[in-house]
């Protein structure tokens, strides 16, 4: 610091993780991990130097500090006095039953309950995979501005993947729950329920017909989750991409970028959600950030680096996968706020189209706004009624174009969880939306093109900026 760095930061992390995998009706893997690591960051002007190590001897750490300082073109050996003051906890997130205090056998029992339920559902269920994971992450963050934060994050996740087979056809169904929560999460969302949903989805897909192909109205149910909002505008509103000119939303603050029915919020403060936290990974208190209000772009998501460039405070979106990575502006729990339409009425008022009941993963090219996401459970809508299930559909569109088209927004709200990838870093997020209607969206299915036209009667791993997110099978 004494040598002219603009900002220096230490991030120390201790992580305990437990994972249980059941497949083939056997508890196949029970694994635990203990990891301690330190990340050191120095900013000089527009340059960042980042170093990390997990060997915590004083020699190793001094060596790391020297290397990072040199990398930042400083002469080593300087010192600076910083008065650290502890940042008060902004709000509480409750954890009632910390997994770290439970026995491994308690987690195994949850997995067994899910496995047994899915297998009992139907004889056509031929394989079931259950993945359980919990982490206890303790962080200590200090920086040259005198901020000091100590925090603890507890997350649990359970995912069920069912494979159904009939008549030479192999189909899968997937469902996952997770949260910043202890094991009490499974009292609200029992493993049996997760298992049944996954199993039923795989069975449904056996009976589904190939999805139509072409442009058509699309209704997305609230329970479909929020992959669409995550891809269509979430990534494009991350300040690093905006500042580099790599976002279709750059330079559009105060302008309409969506239908007036659309309000988009990114919120770290929600109790129990997978993307919630008290402090981000730079020690900034988490908060609720309104990004689009009634269709008008009103804010971006900032970490400290991007906020400094504009002389404004961080919005608490600085996140990193672990001590091995520098922080980046990332989403937390992102949602489109509920509107006023009756969800059933939205379907009734749609003559022909596609109902998306569950979204899968997605990806976006933020530079031009083109996105794609997978339909994990979809149905045809005919004469305002939900009819046959369809499989193999993907929806593609352009973020601003699609958001401008939204013409009905339901009063409900449904969440889904995922691990969002950016610059090779995965972080836990959740997304949500109410029931929505988009009058015209490109559906890519496997049914013949001619058939699709008749049916509708008309109409990158580690590429930065290209996001990968979703269920993660």
């Amino acid at each position: 610091m004494a040598q002219g760095a603009d900002f220096a930061e230490v991030f120390v992390e201790e992580r305990h993780s437990t994972a249980v995998v059941c497949e083939d009706d056997r508890i196949e893997k029970v694994t635990t991990g203990r990891e301690v690591g330190i990340g050191l960051r120095v900013l000089v002007g527009e340059s960042t130097a980042y170093g990390y190590a997990n060997e915590l001897s004083p020699e190793a750490l001094l060596g790391l500090a020297r290397t990072v300082a040199e990398a930042a073109k400083l002469r080593g050996g300087g010192s600076a006095v910083v008065n650290l003051r502890r940042t008060p906890v902004p709000y509480e997130l409750t954890v009632l039953r910390p997994p770290a205090e439970a026995a491994v056998s308690d987690r195994v029992a949850l997995v067994q309950r899910a496995n047994a339920t899915a297998r009992r559902e139907d004889p056509r269920i031929k394989q079931v995979m259950v993945n359980y994971a919990d982490t206890l992450q303790r962080v200590w963050i200090a920086n040259s501005e005198g901020d000091y934060v100590e925090d603890e994050r507890v997350r649990v996740r359970l995912a069920v993947h069912a494979v159904a087979v009939a008549g030479g056809l192999l189909q899968t169904g997937y469902e996952a729950v997770g949260g910043f929560s202890g094991l009490e999460l499974f009292e609200r969302q029992p493993p049996e329920e997760v298992a049944r949903t996954a199993a039923r989805r795989s069975l449904l897909m056996l009976e589904a017909r190939p999805a139509p192909t072409g442009r058509m109205p699309v209704v997305m149910a609230a329970e479909a989750g929020g992959t669409m909002v995550h891809e269509a505008c979430g990534h494009g509103l991350e300040a690093d991409l905006v500042q580099k000119g790599l976002s279709v939303y750059a330079g559009r603050l105060g302008q309409p970028v969506a239908s007036p029915l659309v309000t988009v919020v990114d919120d770290a403060t929600l109790e129990g959600r997978f993307g919630s936290y008290r402090f981000d990974d730079e020690g900034t208190p988490g908060q609720k950030t309104v990004l689009i209000e009634k269709g008008v772009l009103c804010g971006y998501m900032y970490d400290r680096l991007t906020a400094r460039r504009e002389g404004r405070p961080s919005t608490g979106n600085g996140r990193r996968e672990s001590y091995q990575y520098r922080p980046l502006p990332r989403m937390r729990n992102t949602y489109i706020a509920p509107g006023e339409h009756d969800p059933e009425e939205i379907i009734r008022r749609t003559q022909r189209g596609l109902l998306v009941k569950k979204m899968g993963g997605g990806q976006v090219n933020t530079t031009n706004g083109d996105f794609v996401f997978e339909v994990a459970e979809g149905y045809l809508i005919e004469q305002g009624r939900v009819t046959a299930p369809v499989r193999g559909a993907t929806l593609t569109g352009n973020g601003p174009e699609v958001l401008r088209q939204v013409d009905m927004v339901g009063g409900d709200l449904g969440f889904s969880i995922g691990v969002c990838g950016k610059n090779g870093q995965g972080v836990p997020v959740s997304d949500a939306q109410p029931t929505l209607r988009i009058p015209s969206l490109v559906v890519g299915g496997t049914a013949g093109a001619g058939e699709a036209e008749a049916a509708t009667g008309g109409p990158r791993d580690s590429l930065s900026g290209l996001c990968r997110s979703g269920g993660g099978r």
């Binding site: 192909t213 496997t446 979703g470």
Partner: protein, 449 residues
């Protein structure tokens, strides 16, 4: 990074012995260390510099027939005692499994040339220079290349040390380096991105100007891209796109997937699933291969395996576990990312074998169709059912020539259908990391826009 493994060999031996003393029937300790350098430049300035080192050890134990695993970064005496306790406790919670076996000592191939010492000798400034040249080459290609999304140099040097209770003790070190670039070209309000990568085991093999120009020209060529009407089309896929599709097929060659009923190829061994032009190879000893190594994640010698030979499914990939379960021999495909994971089944250097044709000749032969250079959302495709429906971009082929750029289209089908429709392979085998493919000609696919 030292090539001497004294301390690490002591650690893994000691872990195996401790586990056995505490009642484990068998044990395996796996140490890995990685040193990383990353340099990102933008507008001819260094934007990000990363220097890192991490190490740790994973311990697999068998309590009777119950497997358990734990890992730690704490290599102190106390840390290792705790590691043994956790692994044993985890085994007690797992199901009994008769196929858990560990391999014995073996003779490993030598002189694989996995570690280029010039990586260590080259000063950081020279590597920064390489990244700057990469960016310069791309940005100066055409005035319409307006932005750098990524222009970076990366390097990884690693060491692996493995021991097990059958008396196996082995070690090696390796390294690779790479360049990647993504540029944005703009014209009349249209923004398009283009990318290119190059990863090598030898520093001297990197070509920053070539990578920079390739990424930039891919961006420029996409300017003015438009969607097209739905159709069935003959498709030529460039190597990067072909690699993406191959990546969806590869999990089906895993014996683990076969045994657990989630492989599309489970009942197809010895059967023809593709044309004679299609051969898929997995080669753990490939000269210059990023994933080449003397042994796999559990100490079995790496080797070359034919997975698909002239269209016929010839072999599945095995580790010791799946081999025991199938009553076969392991193929040396125990895959392990780091000390944090158990050995699964995975590829080493896996590629679709090239054919004899020049890519331009493939395109000429098509007459009219689509040339794909980008896919979006490939990870959303389903490796179990094989169904895919992905976003894509590329150019139209008209009268055997590449013409207008197209984007916002989707390509849908099933991976077995894709495999069966490959009619010809170009001679331009290209690797992205450790997976490779040439330009390929695929019969008819469903395309919508």
């Amino acid at each position: 990074m030292s090539g001497d493994f004294g301390r690490e060999k002591d650690i893994v031996w000691d872990l195996v012995a401790q586990a056995q003393r505490r009642g484990a029937r068998a044990a395996e300790a796996y140490f890995s260390e990685e040193e990383e350098t990353g340099i990102e430049v933008r507008d001819q300035k260094v934007e990000d510099l990363k220097i890192a080192r991490e190490q740790g050890v994973g311990l697999r134990v068998l309590m009777g027939r119950q497997p358990g695993f734990a890992y730690t970064t704490d290599l102190s005496g106390d840390g290792l005692v705790r590691l043994v306790e956790e692994a044993l406790a985890n085994a007690a919670a797992a199901s009994e499994d008769p196929y858990q076996v560990l391999p014995g000592p073996a003779v490993y191939p030598e002189n694989l040339d996995l570690y280029d010492p010039s990586l260590e000798r080259t000063p950081p400034d020279a590597k920064v220079e390489l990244a700057l040249r990469l960016e310069q080459a791309g940005r100066s290609l055409d005035p319409r290349v307006r932005l750098t999304e990524t222009a970076s140099y990366e390097e990884s040097r690693y060491r692996v040390v493995l021991a097990n209770s059958n008396g196996l003790l082995a070690a090696y070190r390796g390294a690779h380096c790479g360049l990647s670039a993504v540029f944005v070209a703009a014209q009349d309000g249209d923004h398009e991105t283009g990318f290119a990568f190059q990863y090598r085991t030898r520093y001297a093999d990197l070509d920053p100007e070539g990578v920079g120009r390739q990424a930039a020209s891919r961006a420029v060529e996409m300017l003015g891209a438009r969607p097209i009407t739905p159709r069935r089309a003959t498709v030529v896929m460039d190597p990067y796109v072909a690699i993406n599709f191959l990546g969806l097929l590869i999990p089906s060659f895993s014996a683990d997937a076969v045994q657990k009923g989630r492989s599309l190829l489970a009942d197809k061994r010895g059967r023809k699933v593709a044309g004679g032009a299609v051969t898929v190879v997995d080669d753990g000893l490939l000269p210059g291969g990023l994933a080449s190594a003397p042994f796999d994640g559990e100490g079995v010698p790496c080797r070359r395996n034919l997975l698909l030979e002239a269209g016929i499914v010839s072999n599945f990939m095995h580790n010791s576990y799946t081999a025991a379960r199938a009553g076969e021999e392991t193929t040396g495909n125990a895959a392990r990312g780091s000390f944090r994971s158990l050995p699964g089944v995975g590829t080493t250097n896996c590629y679709l074998q090239p054919g004899g044709e020049h890519p331009a000749a493939l395109i000429r032969g098509v007459g009219s169709g689509l040339y794909l250079t980008e896919v979006l959302g490939m990870h959303t495709a389903n490796p179990v059912s094989g169904d895919f429906s992905v976003g894509a971009a590329g150019r139209l082929i008209e009268n055997g020539e590449l013409t207008a750029p197209v984007r916002g289209i989707t390509v849908a089908g099933n991976i077995l259908e894709w495999l069966g429709a490959i009619e010809a392979c170009g001679r331009d085998l290209t690797f992205l990391g450790s997976t490779g493919a040439p330009t390929i000609l695929v019969g008819r696919l469903t395309v919508s826009g």
